[in-house]
């Protein structure tokens, strides 16, 4: 069991599968607001992604009702959660009979007797903190713990991908995969990838404006100014965002109060920025004429550092602002004013990027932008930057950036557990979080030395010759008990399984089953849950090859050629009922609904009518119309009638037949 799950990481779909497992462990989607544990990173991702797709502030202006947005989010999370559920560890292991789970772990891929070959498979997990210990019979918990480790390995990919979501995107955004085999293998439910049916894309938003290449005369500072004149902003306000000057954090010199002022012009007027000025090296001052911050940038009061700093200008208007037509900048030191640069209206559905920013525990900040996308044509998950070597991510923030747009989507600190792993088990962050037994004599892993570690567990000089470690961190000897049989030639040749990881006891010989009898002989699909276990199979004694190679092939073949009972039934029903509403079906239904009952036997006829009652005006009764039954007075009448009628009919038939036959021989 353990061996198979470890080796799953080596399978060609390993990354995807591991990511799926990440999804699996992270079942309970939670709202943003702090990561409670490592696997709630997924929740965070889901929230971020849904935020990106829904872009609450933008969509609030696009006609999407709150209910539609809410429905979108709910739908996304529901489907994501459903996808998660399908890949949960418990579901995956659910196809393993509990009584089999945790019994034996075969050293199945050891080429017995071949000196120099790698020995066994390193296990991915033992308890080194509070995770479940490997104990026979507790494999379900163990598997969950292992998947947590798998996930921890995936967390390392935080630097280059979006955890499970990246796999989701890789699968679901790729049409050939989205309904294909890879999707099937990974179990990703792609129906949640995209917009909900009731999602209304942003269209018809008021145009904003933008000015670029606006350089402060006599300086090297150039600005790109974008802004909005959206009616939803508080009246008489413009929201201006500018970029271009180097951030203070990068050693740039921020503009100061004496650097420049911005002049804006619009149809029917202009605004000379005489009352809004730079207060000090880091802050824009509050508009002295009573303007206000905050309508387009919530961080106005906490220090506005370029780039992308919001500034609210009082335009002196009392209604929705007209678009800015041009802007110029004046160097307040020299009095020189740049030429006015015409403003250009920007797309009502502007191109935006999603920016992912890591703040390391030592304060280092790295960020990366996703590819540009339009909100109404789809959304990209953030493309997060690589984590610098030796650093640990302390905070992950995402925001949507575009002309006049700077919306914070998420902002979460990583958990202490994640940081602890990143610091103490750095190997666990690069997908090689394995339990290892090291040969101190050679300095190599026993797994690369074949037979040299044989007998390690009973070696009296263990402390000086061997070291058990997990994820690069030393562990006590007992943590490596599972390897007791791996480095024991006799046990290997006998085909024994991994030892009991809790005690080191030998579970016995002959537990490795052949491929044909153990793994390939079992069904991929569990008839009860209808779930396929494409990566492990149902037998804990299956070999690595069976579990990692043949099983997926079998799974694929079954996927290709064995229709599910439900699907077959559905198709059959569709055929069976195809004619229901049509003429043939209706006719068949009609005819099959007819029930003829012709009972013309009997020898008497009694009707519920009493002629006497007509005159007496009282009573009910019945009248016998005739009675020719045996023993009755008129029995002879019936007998005679039958003879007469029968004979008459016989004569008629005789004449009819005679005529037919005579006609054929031309004799009458």
């Amino acid at each position: 069991m353990i061996g198979r799950k470890v080796a799953a990481g080596g399978f060609v779909f390993g990354i995807v599968v591991v990511s799926s497992m990440v999804l699996g462990v992270a079942a309970p989607a939670q709202a943003v607001g702090g990561l409670d544990d490592p696997y709630n990173l997924l929740s965070y991702v889901l929230d971020a992604k849904s935020s990106v797709l829904a872009s609450p502030t933008l969509t609030a202006n696009s006609g999407n009702t709150a209910a539609a947005l809410s429905a979108w989010n709910a739908n996304f999370k529901k489907i994501a959660a459903a996808s998660v559920g399908a890949n949960r560890a418990m579901v995956t292991t659910g196809v393993v009979p509990l009584e089999q789970a945790g019994e034996l772990i075969p050293i199945s891929d050891y080429p017995a007797g071949s000196i120099g070959a790698q020995v066994g498979t390193r296990l991915p997990a033992t308890g080194w903190t509070n995770w479940a210990k490997i104990t026979p019979g507790a494999t379900v918990a163990l598997t969950a713990a292992m998947l947590i480790y798998d996930q921890r390995a995936s967390i390392s990919q935080i630097g280059s991908s979006w955890l499970g979501i990246d796999a989701n995107a890789a699968v679901c955004s790729n049409t050939p995969f989205s309904s294909g085999f890879l999707n099937y293998i990974t179990g990703q439910d792609c129906s949640g990838y995209g917009f909900a049916s009731d999602y209304v894309a942003n269209t018809g938003m008021p145009a904003g404006w933008g000015v670029s290449g606006l350089c402060v005369p006599g300086t090297t500072t150039c600005l790109t100014i974008t802004g909005e004149s959206w009616a939803y902003l508080a009246s008489s306000l413009y929201c201006v965002t500018w970029t271009g000057a180097a951030p203070v954090s990068s050693g740039g010199t921020p503009p100061t109060a004496t650097n420049f002022t911005i002049n804006l012009s619009w149809a029917g007027g202009f605004y000379n920025n005489g009352s809004v000025f730079l207060k000090d090296t880091n802050h824009w001052g509050a508009p002295s004429n009573g303007g206000m911050y905050g309508a387009c940038h919530s961080e106005a009061s906490t220090g506005l550092m370029p780039p992308n700093t919001g500034l609210v200008l009082n335009g002196g208007q009392t209604s929705a602002q007209p678009p800015i037509t041009s802007a110029s900048v004046r160097n307040t030191s020299t009095g020189a004013t740049s030429a006015a640069v015409a403003g250009a209206a920007y797309d009502p559905t502007p191109n935006v990027v999603t920016r992912c920013t890591y703040t390391m525990t030592d304060g280092t900040v790295v960020s990366k932008d996703s590819s540009s996308y339009k909100e109404n044509t789809g959304a990209l998950p953030p493309d997060c930057p690589a984590v610098p070597a030796g650093k640990v991510v302390g905070n992950i923030a995402t925001s949507q950036i575009g002309p006049g747009i700077n919306y914070g989507l998420t902002n979460n600190d990583t958990t202490p557990a994640f940081r602890e792993t990143a610091i103490n088990q750095p190997q666990c962050l690069i997908s090689s979080c394995v339990l290892d037994l090291k040969d101190l004599t050679s300095g190599k892993s026993c797994f690369t030395e074949a037979d040299t570690c044989d007998g390690w567990i009973s070696d009296p000089n263990y402390d000086s010759k061997y070291q058990c470690s997990y994820g690069g961190q030393n562990q006590v000897k007992s943590e490596c008990y599972a390897y007791a049989n791996v480095f024991n030639q006799a046990k290997r040749l006998a085909g024994d399984a991994y030892a009991d990881p809790a005690t080191g006891d030998d579970p016995g010989a002959g537990t490795s089953e052949s491929l044909g009898t153990s793994e390939m002989g079992s069904l991929v699909r569990d008839p009860d849950t209808n779930a396929r276990d494409c990566m492990g199979g149902s037998s804990p004694n299956a070999s690595w090859i069976a579990a990692q190679l043949l099983k997926p092939i079998q799974c694929g073949l079954e996927w290709a050629f064995v229709p599910s009972a439900a699907a077959t039934f559905a198709v059959g029903e569709s055929m069976r009922h195809a004619f229901d509403e049509r003429a043939p079906g209706q006719l068949i239904t009609m005819i099959s609904g007819w029930h003829f009952t012709a009972n013309m036997g009997g020898c008497s006829r009694v009707v519920p009518y009493d002629p006497g009652a007509v005159f007496r005006h009282a009573g009910t009764g019945s009248t016998t119309l005739w009675n020719v039954c045996p023993g009755s007075t008129y029995e002879w009448l019936g007998t005679t009638s039958k003879i007469v009628v029968g004979l008459s009919f016989a004569v008629m038939v005789f004449l009819s037949v005679k005529r037919s036959i005579a006609g054929t021989v031309d004799y009458r």
Partner: protein, 90 residues
Amino acid sequence: VIVLWFFSVAAGFVQWLASLFPVLELPDQLVNLDDGFNSVFAMGDGLGAFVPWPVIGVLAAVPLTIWVGGLTIRALRALIAHLPFIGGRG
């Protein structure tokens, strides 16, 4: 999915075939035709004393059988007449 695809094709064909027929809603008179027949026959309750129904049934089948038999013989003869190797002309 491959086998299922063939199933789906077959199902699609059947559904297409069905779509060629009009959607029909039969009148109640036809749907309940058996009721009328049954009430007519119910009027004959007790006539068994006067009419030998089993005999009538057998006798009625005789000319029908002979007619069907003759028709079959003539149809076979017409077919055989077309077989070249026993004198037919194809």
